[in-house]
Symmetry: C2
DNA sequence: TATGGTAAGGTTATCGGTAACATTCTTATG
DNA sequence: CATAAGAATGTTACCGATAACCTTACCATA
């Protein structure tokens, strides 16, 4: 590999002069600058990022840790983050924890050893606490995305889960549904808890009693076993007329399950969910959803993070951005006549 | 930040002894090892990856550059790569070029400066040549994915585009279609060229004449303007009975376009495409596709790459893995009676 | 008792950059 | 023409780790 010393030697200057040319610092005569530039071209010089960040104590890179790379919510979020990072001259590195604490722990280790300037994290859930504490302890600025973690104070970008869920359920009630089930993510995830709250609130407002057997907790992730949902569904004494899914991945599992049982949506059962399905569900915009502004999660998250990185102010009050969800009413909910129920 | 020197001082040993404990090298007494370990815990030591890779001249990390993070083909590929990398003790970094040469060039720069041990690249197309040449020149081992680039010799994992395309078209012909259009990716992408060849071959075998106006070249990427397709479709003198899309993103564009015009698939027009749609099209497995083994692309790609990294053999014959595509026949093709046409 | 082999650990130089300070070269000014 | 004030460049030390070599101390053996 070519180093600044090779260039310095060939250009008959000191390494420091080369460094100055590269970074446009200090005073360099045009003649020298041109000479050094020419040698750099000839030798195909590429700066060594590791050496640079070792002495500078900063890397100009940000790590984005998401929980599911197959989920369009997170890939869209990632694009937002990437755009914002590029715009600010930061390199963005991605990691994918798969909603898995062990992988998350691994990535936190990577983050610490590579000395990135900051981190954007969608945490796996409340048990991510020690991971975030580790970041805190090592003074790595970070911004949480999508999920709060009790015990951690930091900047955060959230969706309005409670409100979105409430509006979804209110829509169902408005269409005449009374027996509404919720298949949710784990209650160790803040957004799942809020969606449950929104669900319960809407039921209450609608004068519908909350039933324990209509709540099932699965995993938000791609790798959870769908048979849990099947068992729950089979075991139901009274079939609901509508199911709300806590996120898009769960909605997929539910719809597949219903199809396998020959149940048509919405004719036999209505389905709604949180999060939109991304471009690949465009074949037939069918599912009624509470769509989140995924791109903004990433974009705004990077902005909050870069603010912290630049000011190095970890004491000033924490920012909390709450983005509303859009209710997109499509065709997965059947209108029930009062008599029909 | 805590360094090995801080630990050395507190444990009353030399930095070298600390290094030996960390890496399990050399001879260290159990007493010393325990003492050093204890101090490391107390001080929350985290090794500095930059310093380490500076002296070792290797980073144990691999860069994966994909062209579309929103495309399930690539995210599935990414999971395969991630799994394979983890299994081999390599860190995996992702980049997303968005089918955009400028972004790709940028990422190549990042790759060179960060001195990763190797790269997995899905190139934007033939014009990616200089980027790959840069990797070659700097002796960075790389493996191509999904697309060949004329002028570059290297290990590569490909799908059998020609065969898959031929089978898709043969299926259409078998169902009685004669007027079959192809909306393809840019001809500067090898896989698009092969898909065109497969298309033409199937037409020939079926005794159908190739028509120039039934070929439209759009972009494989997420950011291309769908109005091009609209114009082409509007301008058609004779409407085809079936359209084959060069990949899944194009299929989405076509289906949206048809829907906007009130044309039903497959009743009014049949559609097939290359690549499956991922979990989020499970709502209704509808589109007949040539599905590629996306996960394997990533998994096998990493294996080829790590072989090169370990042997440092850049001279031995290049590996070329060609993965077949599965024809998944679903419901987006209408059977035409000979009379109907 | 001399010898040497090995276990355990220390010293020094180096990876490729940059900050801080030092030095040399210009140029304008009294 | 001497000289001071910058402009242009060089020197040295250091960022945090590891490789290569060196030093002890101890024990077994002839």
């Amino acid at each position: 590999m070519v180093t600044i010393y090779d260039i310095a030697a060939k250009a008959n200057v000191s390494a420091m002069t080369v460094s100055r040319v590269i970074n446009n610092t200090g005073k360099i005569s045009d003649r020298t600058r041109a000479k050094v530039r020419k040698v750099m071209e000839e030798l195909n010089y590429v700066p060594n990022h590791n050496a640079r960040s070792l002495v500078l104590q900063q890397t100009r890179s940000i790590f984005l840790l998401i929980t599911d790379i197959a989920n369009p919510f997170y890939t869209t979020l990632a694009r937002g983050a990437e755009d914002a990072a590029r715009k600010n001259g930061y390199r963005l590195l991605f990691g994918n924890s798969d909603e898995n604490l062990a992988k998350e722990a691994d990535y936190v280790q990577t983050i610490l050893t590579t000395r990135v300037d900051g981190v954007l994290v969608a945490p796996a859930g409340d048990p991510s606490l020690p991971h975030l504490e580790a970041l805190k302890k090592h003074n790595v600025p970070f911004v949480l995305l999508d999920r709060e973690v009790p015990g951690i104070e930091c900047d955060i970008v959230l969706g309005d889960s409670k409100d979105g869920a409430r509006r979804l359920v209110e829509h169902l009630i408005g269409e005449g549904h009374q027996r509404i089930a919720l298949v949710n993510g784990s209650s160790s995830i803040s957004s799942a808890r809020l969606r449950l709250q929104g669900y319960q609130e809407a039921l209450k407002l609608g004068g519908i009693e909350y039933r324990d057997d209509y709540l099932f907790e699965a995993g938000f992730g791609p790798s959870h076993d769908p048979r849990g949902i099947e068992c729950w569904f089979e075991g139901l004494a009274e079939q609901p007329t509508a199911i709300m899914a806590g996120n898009n991945v769960l909605a997929m599992a539910i719809i597949r399950l219903l199809r396998e049982r020959g149940l048509k949506v919405p004719d036999d059962l209505s389905v709604v969910c949180f999060d939109d399905l991304g471009p690949f569900a465009e074949i037939d915009p069918f599912l009624t959803v509470a769509a989140q502004q995924a791109y903004q999660f990433g974009y705004l998250g990077i902005q909050l993070l870069i603010d912290r990185i630049i000011t190095r102010e970890m004491a000033s009050p924490w920012n909390k951005i709450v983005l509303p969800a859009d209710l997109l009413i499509r065709r997965s909910v059947k209108r029930l006549t009062p008599a029909a129920d």
